[in-house]
Symmetry: C2
Subunit: 345 residues, 2 copies
């Protein structure tokens, strides 16, 4: 059973290797009868189709697209937003019978080359919320692998599928401003705080492009407001809770909390619930993304078509007929019960 190759089959049937190859890849290049005979013999010999690596090497197609996440892979799955993106991407991948290669983005050994991004056999790559400075992006560029990012990059020739982060956040900001909020805390993803101790950051410490832009949008829409940037850790439910707890238990409570992702906002919601605070009445809470759980929780948030975003990335990567290489997706402010007027001072 081991060591059965195209050649073995070819010899057994009495034809050339090329013909066996064609039996699998170009059925119209040989007679039906012969193809049948070849496939049967292959089955008998326990040959299960052309070897993936060899085929990839010769044809230059790996049949897989890579997916790059920020942080640890394990983290990526905890946000339904990321998962939704993946689901959309998976849909298109399935359509083109291409596999999805999830690549751990470990920072070690980048130089040595023993890196997953370096080693991966992929035809293209989807870059999900990876800060533009990341060395992995250089490696991809170096390898000449076409990539699509979920952030609008700096380079004009980079493909992306994104939203107008500033404008989207500005809409939310206007909503809050109209409700009279002047004192807002923004919850962000940050590695520094991952230990469990919340930190307050300045805008340029944030790191992630999308987060920075969202904060800019908020500032733009509410220039008179006091905006504090707080992180309780990585982008996760628990970080949102931790960050919110810190804020809520301080002497200096804001009138509104904005999570830059829904998972963080929902974490904050939990912190409020424990303290008997009703969102929309005692304190306004808003999120970003509009994940399914946000609706159930009555969370005011900015909807972005995440699944469609994944699909669009997939199409740019896989569909040769897709010409548009930079796509701006629409967003929509979804007002729910968690936002309400600021209490009169």
């Amino acid at each position: 059973m081991a060591g059965v190759t195209l050649k073995t089959v070819a010899k057994a049937v009495g034809v050339s290797p090329s013909t066996v190859s064609n039996a699998y890849n170009k059925p119209d290049q040989l007679s039906v009868a012969l193809r049948e005979r070849i496939l049967n013999t292959a089955r008998e010999l326990g040959y299960s189709g052309p070897d993936a690596s060899a085929r990839a090497l010769r044809s230059g197609k790996a049949g897989a697209v890579g997916v790059l996440f920020t942080d640890k892979l394990a983290y990526a799955f905890s946000d339904p937003y990321a998962v939704g993106f993946l689901a959309g991407l998976a849909e298109v991948a399935e359509e083109f019978s291409t596999s999805l290669l999830l690549m751990p983005l470990s920072s070690t050994d980048i130089a040595g080359g023993s890196n997953a991004v370096q080693q991966a056999a992929i035809d293209a790559a989807a870059i999900f919320c990876v800060p533009s400075g990341n060395p992995a992006l250089d490696i991809l560029a170096n390898r000449g692998i076409p990539a699509v990012s979920t952030d609008r990059g700096d380079h004009p020739d980079l493909s992306w599928v994104a939203i107008d982060e500033v404008e989207a956040a500005a809409q939310l900001g206007e909503h809050l401003a109209r409700l009279g909020h002047r004192d807002v805390v923004v919850l962000v993803d940050n590695a520094e705080a991952a230990g469990g101790n919340p930190v307050e950051l300045s805008v340029d410490q944030v790191g992630y492009t999308d987060c920075e832009l969202r904060i800019q949008g908020l500032q733009k829409a509410m220039p008179d407001a006091r905006l504090r940037i707080i992180s309780g850790g990585h982008n996760a439910f628990s970080s949102g809770r931790t960050g919110a707890e810190w804020v809520l238990d301080s002497q200096d409570r804001p009138t509104a909390i904005v999570g830059l992702s829904d998972v963080q906002a929902l974490g904050a919601l939990e912190a409020m619930r424990v303290r008997g605070l009703i969102p929309g009445r005692d304190l306004t809470l808003a999120g970003f993304d509009d994940i399914p759980a946000a609706e159930a929780a009555g969370l005011t948030t900015v909807h972005q078509p995440i699944r469609e975003k994944g699909r669009a990335v997939g199409r740019i990567l896989l569909d040769p007929t897709a010409t548009e290489r930079q796509l701006l997706m629409p967003t929509e402010l979804i007002v729910r019960a968690s936002s309400g007027p600021a209490p009169k001072a």
Copy 2:
């Protein structure tokens, strides 16, 4: 920049290709100075390390493990349970700097060989909740790819990491029996109902091994109870809601509903909420898996160490020092507010 290979670099530096290869793979096989020189030249030429496919072909290692899901990939991500498994697996994969190849399990073209499972360049495979009859499993076996399943299979030589489904379900069944429940509806995953019309099934129509075993466990623990098996579609929140709606709006309400996954149970919870039914008082609700949301919702469920399950699978697949090839993980009944005594008839 294109067409730069090992050979190009070798020629430029004035050494043999083998030496360049060693510079990347076996640093101790050549002098530090030469290695430095090679790496520098490579950088200058825009060579970004050995080609993945070629390396995979020659060395026989792909540097990736495949992950097989039931149904569509897109579906897989909607269940935090599946995501948790993936996260655990990803952790170990990361450790061994191996990538995760998510393979769409489309049923088409299996025979023709243009299947992802057929084509994928992988060293090993994790099989997540795939029914044992699936042709993809045969393909894997045929290709001689080591695999670990999350279900205890029929073959004694198959590796698996699983729970004692029967026993776990029986614990839940005993709990319900003690509370006096005699009329129970079980919500299961089923393709037939995917159109949106709930269906009632017999045990042998269920299809998934794990679900069947869980139902067996329930039956064992509550032999006197009436057990109806209902499906509202695939394993998802919405299916649980649909199934529960159908049951709740019928003339023949049970006293307890058991979702064979937490997502389905939470869907049912939503259906109850809409109808003003308090879980644990008006009707008992239980789930399976103990995903994070179950705790927040106060859902009685069976905890299984999903992340650890993923890690264990990863270790069996990747860690050569791991000898145990069949692992039974512990489960625990978690009683929360959603289960209560059956109303006196």
